[in-house]
């Protein structure tokens, strides 16, 4: 499923996130996929997704500049393909 700004998303329950100096590593214990989250902002957004009704709300709540939103949508969409993120 494609993630958009209006998608309600959450972290997959089988995913663990480990903080790193560059952002974080996300590991899916089910499909064994490992993903670099390459900026602390994307880590904050991902961790807060389940608290918001849409990706747009999560981006706004975390103070992400609107000019960066397309990159975040692309990143979240990519993570749905890896099953790191689920569209609710």
């Amino acid at each position: 499923m494609t993630a958009t700004l209006e998608s309600a998303c959450s972290l997959h329950p089988q995913v663990a996130i480990r903080p790193e100096p560059f952002g974080a590593l996300a590991y899916h214990y089910g499909n064994r996929r490992l993903v670099f989250l390459r900026h602390p902002d994307v880590v904050r957004v991902i961790e807060s997704l389940s608290s918001h009704g849409s990706l747009r709300e999560a981006l706004e709540a975390n103070g992400i500049d609107e000019g960066r939103w397309p990159s975040f949508v692309k990143a979240i969409d990519s993570l749905t393909g890896s099953e790191i993120i689920r569209v609710r």
Binding site: R32, L34, F36, L37, V42, K74, S78, L79
Partner: protein, 53 residues
Amino acid sequence: MWLLLDSMDQDITAQNEEAVAPQQASPGARDTAGIVEELLVEEISIDGMCGVY
């Protein structure tokens, strides 16, 4: 899993810094019509690593 990754930590950090450095050095490298695209996530394959340790 994280124990395995701990042993890879320096390599991972080094690789990532190498990957990020070009963007920081030239932020306009991906600038098209004033829109800079960030590479925020990167999936890597760990298939075949189980037998390493």
